[in-house]
């Protein structure tokens, strides 16, 4: 089949979404499909610009290209997933969260800071409700994204998991003396919570953060916080790592601490599982909770510094337990059947063969 992937791209920003698209395209091609990606540029401010991009999405004709029919359009991200096509499938990374669960968030809500924010939010909601069902199948990357879609739009979607990048390359090595947190530095990822937790640990826990900051101000804030909390000597700032360095750091960690706020999916959880490392996460961390089994493959705590500290202390002190949970995590990963073959099969199944 000739398959087009419709996604959205914020210029100069590359992250998990872009990796997913590349991996999906490669997987489709391995399965013999001719595949390409259309990435629509996206700017979310001023808020009216969102409406412009939505409108622009509806005006594209991707039914064929150079005289050849496009057999399947896979909608991946808002608002590119509005591009019309007679044979459309959604595999949604997330809706425009500023219009939904992040709307009234005291820290991360941005759409409601605009004069017509509420009207635009309602327009996004109306468009999602009216246009998402144009697809004959709707998948989401996780149960969490599907839950939000059901809650806000009353639309049923099927979670469809996929492997993280370089899934076959992760390995387990002897544990060193650090907990690993590889993620871009962002308030949503809550590195600040981890730093606050360090101040409450009774064990000499060390945390290695790897990733680039969303803003230099946030990085400065985090470092100042560590200093003020008296834990600066137990925080390692690794910055951006190469893929090989990341694999190595996973392998040699005691475990992974990953307490984001309401994550869509959480590659880090899966990378940790593949590395046979236990995961500490929080009860409001969203997608991570679909994989971490409390007391079996890791720990789920309240999103409070003291609770997180207790979990970090446990892994630090009981290395054998950590190793056992890590093994269980890897087994769980393979038990879930998370493969690109399954993704491709689900997305390309003929209508009526779901």
């Amino acid at each position: 089949m000739r398959v087009l992937l419709a996604t959205t791209q914020v210029p100069f920003v590359t992250g998990g979404a872009e990796n997913l698209v590349q991996e999906l395209q490669a997987a489709l091609q391995r399965s013999g499909h001719l595949t390409d990606t259309v990435a629509l540029p996206f700017k979310w401010y001023p808020a009216e610009r969102i409406l412009d991009h939505m409108l622009a999405s509806r005006m594209y004709d991707l039914t064929e290209s150079s005289g050849h029919a496009v057999d399947l359009l896979v909608g991946l991200k808002f608002p590119a997933y509005f591009i019309p096509h007679p044979n459309k499938v959604m595999w949604i990374m997330h809706q425009h969260r500023s219009a939904y669960d992040l709307w009234a968030h005291p820290q991360f809500g941005d759409l409601l800071t605009w004069p017509k924010g509420r009207m635009i939010r309602n327009a996004i909601h109306e468009a999602d409700c009216a246009l998402l069902p144009e697809a004959h199948r709707i998948f989401t990357i996780s149960k969490r994204v599907a839950e939000r879609m059901r809650h806000y739009c009353d639309i049923e979607a099927t979670p469809l998991y996929h492997p993280p990048k370089m899934a076959d390359s992760f390995f387990c090595g002897p544990a060193g003396d650090y907990l690993f947190y590889p993620s871009r530095l962002s308030p949503l990822k809550r590195q600040d919570l981890v730093i606050q937790a360090l101040a409450h640990t009774s064990q000499p826990v060390v945390v290695a953060f790897a990733g680039t900051p969303d803003s230099s101000e946030y990085e400065v804030q985090l470092k100042a916080m560590a200093q003020e909390a008296g834990v600066a000597d137990r925080v390692i700032w690794l910055g951006r790592l190469s893929e090989e360095e990341k694999l190595d750091r996973y392998a040699k960690s005691v475990g992974v601490v990953f307490p984001p706020w309401d994550e869509d999916y959480g590659y880090i959880t899966l990378e940790a599982m593949l590395s046979e490392k236990p995961v500490i996460t929080c009860s409001d961390s969203g997608g991570t909770l679909e994989f971490v089994l409390d007391g079996k493959t890791g720990l789920v705590t309240e999103p409070l510094p003291e609770s997180l500290a207790g979990a970090m202390d446990l892994l630090w002190e009981k290395r054998a337990v950590a190793a056992e949970w890590g093994k269980a995590g890897r087994a769980r990963y393979y038990g879930l059947g998370i493969t690109w073959e399954r993704v491709v099969q689900s997305l390309t199944a003929p209508r009526g063969h779901e």
């Binding site: 009216e48 409406l51 409108l55 005006m59 800071t113 017509k116 509420r118 635009i120 309602n122």
Partner: protein, 448 residues
């Protein structure tokens, strides 16, 4: 539902402040209400029903407003009370409750204070054409007084432009607003919170002297000179006295008119008095004169107060007054005022009981149509409509931006000539159309 309510608040001396205070208990039973104001102080009794929030134009937070479901703005013709509310309505679209159809005084003063007469002239031209602009310019050049600018140039357009819906209180306003835009318009009966009914004694009623009363802001349009002329021509004019409460545009002139009609000493000017005193005066009066010509078009809070006192009234058959049933008021045609006023006064003398019953009919009308509870429910229902209008508005704006972008490279024509493309763009966008939504009387047309 959470509503952000922008209105003058008591103790500001405006009927709209009183309207808000009277409506608030019923509204607060049905919604969470936040009263937003620039006033330094307000009647603390309001806080029993709603949070009062102050905002400063320079630094308010849209985040605060967007936490509510809808902003509701009250616009009237007085720039002192409504300029800032209007400015806010331009920033954050919401429901406009239009208390006066004509807003030309509001905008004339607004632009005058801004030192920007061209702004007013431009708006008059934009909404009413070159003749209106010319008259506005003549006014600002001190060539004509403002009263000579035609009352047909209401300039209500800027007051409702870009709103999500407008609620009005008169058929005249409803007809005018329907022509203006693609937003929903609702007609609702102006609410009035009535004190308990006290019947007037038929025995005491029939005994003179009979007290006529008029109150409020008395300008030439209240037709008091014409009423004095009518009374002066009545053979039994000494059966009546006239009490005037409130402000009079030219007290000397009015008293001279009274003297000329042989009514010296029978007309008393009281000025503004405490509310309780005015209530007592209405309670002891026999007939109210509540004429309007020309009318600003809107429903009359003063008439509702007259109804509340079970007081019959002579009104002008125009605007909202013209929709009142004949059994509740005595109507006078604008082109035949003096004889008809005189005829009603004579009729009163020959059958005062008929007028007492008319007063009771007015009271019944008030209780049936103008209940704050019903009005509050109408606002809630209409709020849902306005909220739903929001996505349509931003979708249309996006489509218009697309068309305007096209203007950069489409030679010839203008935005209007691309309407067909615009419409299809909007429909392609979300299946929504720009169809005008027009609603009727809340609760059904009372004339049917």
């Amino acid at each position: 539902m959470k509503l952000n309510w922008f209105s003058p608040l008591p103790p500001l001396r405006t009927g709209i402040a009183d309207y808000t205070a009277a409506l608030l208990p019923a509204l607060a039973e049905r919604a969470d209400v936040a009263l937003w104001t620039r006033q330094e102080s307000w009647d603390p009794s309001l806080e029993a029903f709603a949070e009062v929030r102050r905002y400063e134009q320079a630094w308010f937070s849209y985040k605060e407003f967007n936490q509510g479901d809808l902003n509701i703005y009250h616009l009237g013709n007085n720039a002192d009370f409504h300029s800032e509310i209007w400015e806010m309505s331009r920033l954050v679209p919401g429901m406009v409750i239009l208390h006066d159809l004509s807003l030309r005084h509001l905008f004339a003063r607004y632009y005058q204070l801004q030192g920007n007469p061209a702004g007013f002239i431009g708006e008059m031209g934009r909404w009413h054409g070159p003749e209106a602009a010319a008259q506005a310019e003549s006014f600002f050049n001190a060539q004509i007084p403002f009263e000579e600018v035609s009352e047909h140039f209401t300039l209500c357009g800027p007051g409702v432009e870009g709103c999500l819906g407008t609620l009005v209180h008169s058929q005249m306003a409803f007809e005018e607003l329907r022509k203006l835009g693609s937003f929903p318009v609702l007609l609702a009966h102006l609410p009035h919170s009535a004190r308990p009914f006290v019947a007037r004694s038929p025995e005491a009623w029939g005994q003179g002297p009979f007290r006529l009363i008029v109150f409020g802001f008395i300008g030439p349009n209240r037709r008091l000179e014409q009423a004095l002329e009518a009374l002066g021509g009545l053979a039994e004019k000494d059966a009546f006295t006239l009490d005037v409460y409130g402000s009079v545009w030219d007290p000397e002139r009015l008293l001279q008119c009274a003297s000329a009609q042989g009514l010296a000493g029978r007309v008393r000017l009281h000025g503004f008095v405490p509310e309780a005193e005015l209530d007592d005066a209405l309670g002891s009066a026999h007939l109210a004169l509540n004429l309007r010509n020309p009318t600003m078009g809107e429903a009359s809070a003063s008439q509702l107060r007259i109804f509340e006192s079970s007081l019959p009234a002579i009104v002008t058959r125009t605007g909202w007054y013209g929709t009142l049933p004949e059994e509740a008021v005595a109507q006078v045609d604008p082109i035949d005022e003096v004889p008809q006023i005189r005829a009603h006064l004579a009729s009163f003398l020959s059958d005062p009981e008929r007028f007492r019953v008319m007063g009771e009919r007015g009271r019944q009308l008030l209780e049936q149509r103008h209940s704050p509870a019903q009005y509050a429910q109408d606002i809630l229902s209409f709020s849902e409509v306005c909220i739903a209008q929001g996505p349509r508005e931003v979708a249309m704006e996006a489509a218009l931006r697309a068309v305007r972008n096209g203007q950069a490279w489409i030679r010839g024509g203008d935005v209007a000539s691309n309407v067909a493309t615009l419409a299809s763009s909007v429909e392609a966008f979300s299946g929504l159309t720009s169809a005008r939504i027009v609603m009727g009387w809340a609760g059904g047309d009372p004339r049917s």
